[in-house]
């Protein structure tokens, strides 16, 4: 069932980017299972009450992946699926990069990389003061963590022992101008987090069971923030997009969309 859902989500992601005429398919397709695990399994949330004070928080720090977030939110009932087709078209609530509260349930603005983890820490510090226990997930890209602020924040999470914070790295291997390895190597990724005092878990980010298990394991860790290094494939599910940097920020043309949808359908 969830496998079929992953196909449908990928198809919708590509449809709305194609309709918008611009957007970031590669990094949206790589994070689909990571979001399914959160929005259908791990997160304590209520799509009908996006402002429920006790909800767990999902912060999308890699803002260019928002077509995936919007699609997941629509499928989960936060807003009507028809609205997905307004992506990036004025006037729309579905901004090219997320705007906080637009639509309700989008917890944080992003699009200037590297900022989400700091906000996750701030939310966790406030919750600790208020005696509130929420899990706070922050999804980042592997290129994104080249931003120095991420490591400033990583030190803050560790220093303040923010075990409510779980960072997820969508390690899809590519950034805008090529392989992360070629632009600026960030490995060894899991050991980097460990050396910053984090509990790190490395998984195949397209294996839903591993994803859900990792979220469960992270939830048991006390006194330490957790980092899930999810090994993924940029453009996952569409042969001509997979690991091809050209699909970082390009919308499929109609015939490309048809090919992609058919490929995905064949798997389902």
């Amino acid at each position: 069932m969830l496998r079929k859902l992953a196909v449908e989500l990928r198809q919708d992601i590509l449809r709305i980017i194609a309709k918008a005429g611009s957007g970031h398919p590669g990094g949206s397709l790589s994070m689909v299972e990571l979001l399914i695990g959160l929005f259908w399994y791990t997160l304590r949330h209520d799509p009908k009450r996006p402002d429920w004070p006790e909800r767990d928080l999902f912060l999308l720090s890699k803002g260019h992946g928002c077509p995936a977030l919007y699609t997941v939110m629509a499928h989960r009932g936060y807003f009507p699926r028809e609205e997905l087709l307004t992506l990036r078209r004025y006037p729309t609530r579905l901004q090219g990069h997320p705007e906080r509260g637009s639509p309700p349930g989008v917890e944080m603005a992003s699009g200037s990389l590297g900022q989400g983890l700091s906000m996750a820490n701030g939310l966790a510090l406030a919750d600790r003061l208020d005696g509130r226990r929420r899990r706070i997930f922050c999804l980042m890209g592997d290129g994104e963590i080249q931003e120095g602020q991420v490591w400033e924040a990583a030190m803050t999470s560790h220093h303040h022992k923010l075990d409510a914070v779980c960072a997820i790295v969508d390690a899809n291997q590519l950034q805008q101008n090529g392989p992360v390895k070629a632009i600026q190597d960030i490995e060894p990724l899991a050991d980097k987090w460990r050396s910053f005092g984090w509990h790190a878990i490395e998984i195949n980010g397209h294996d839903l069971q591993q994803v859900m298990d990792a979220y469960d394991e992270a939830g048991t860790i006390k006194g330490k923030p957790q980092a899930i290094v999810a090994r993924t494939v940029k453009g996952k599910g569409v042969s001509f997009m997979e690991l091809n940097p050209a699909w970082h920020g390009m919308a499929p043309k109609p015939e490309e969309l048809e090919r992609a949808l058919a490929e995905l359908q064949a798997v389902a």
């Binding site: 705007e99 900022q115 906000m119 701030g122 510090l125 406030a126 602020q149 400033e152 030190m155 803050t156």
Partner: protein
Amino acid sequence: MAELKPTRDGFGEGLLELGRTDPRVVALSGDLEDSARAVWFKNEFPDRFFSVGIAEQDMIGTAAGLAMAGKIPFACSFAQFVTGKALEQLRLAVCYQQLPVKIAGSHGGLSVGADGATAEALEEFTHMRSLPFMTVLVPCDALEAKKATLAAAAHPGPVFLRLGRSPVPVITKPQDPFVIGQARVPRDGADIALIACGTMVAQALSAAELLAKDGIQARVINLHTIKPIDRAAIVQAARDTGALVTAEEHTVVGGLGGAVAEVVVQEHPVPMKFIGVQDRFGTSGDPADLFKAFHLMPEDIAKAAKDVLQFKQHV
């Protein structure tokens, strides 16, 4: 002789009072809480003070997260480092998200003195006032700084507070009201208006004394809020006096003078002169020497006033 006290002390007192009266108020600093006088709050409310290391970008992001959860965070640092290094975080995490994060920027202006150019914030009015939703406050003395701090906490959006390191004369009175966006007029006059903020209000008042000796009656406006700017007070001054001099301990590129000129040229054009730092960096020295070297003295303001009055007569 007026009492001498740094505006950062007024901030520290205000923050401490807020700690006692509003449980939502928290504070953060990147190892500068002593300099920014947030250490008084830290000592009394250790659980509500967060050290984030020497990392201004993370500090602003963390403050934004605290605000997202309903807190009123004061992020305390040197004005230069917090507005310069964290400009992008202030733009996205704070202003775009319209969060009530308050930025206390100490060591603003040349009055940092001996530490020299790298710590002397001289461009932050320009940066801060260009951000949508940001409020920019520049209190003129410690008393006003305390009131500005309380007003900042009560304001629903982001606020930048410019504070100074060196003692400056207390020229306002305890009973003087402080309302964000409402300029004060500590001295009235009809020949020319001197519009100043921060430390330059006292300088402008001294300049007005000098001008009075030559029979020129200057109005002095304390424009403690650079944004939202008090358009009415500026237009009224332009209309009543027909000539303006602005004075700021800050670059003349896009600061207080620029903000005033944006109003004046559109609503009631009159001749203007800008007293301020003339598009250059600061340098090391005693603040008193620097004020002379950078032409921020009452004599400089008075001379600019006379120059602009000449121009007014030719219009």
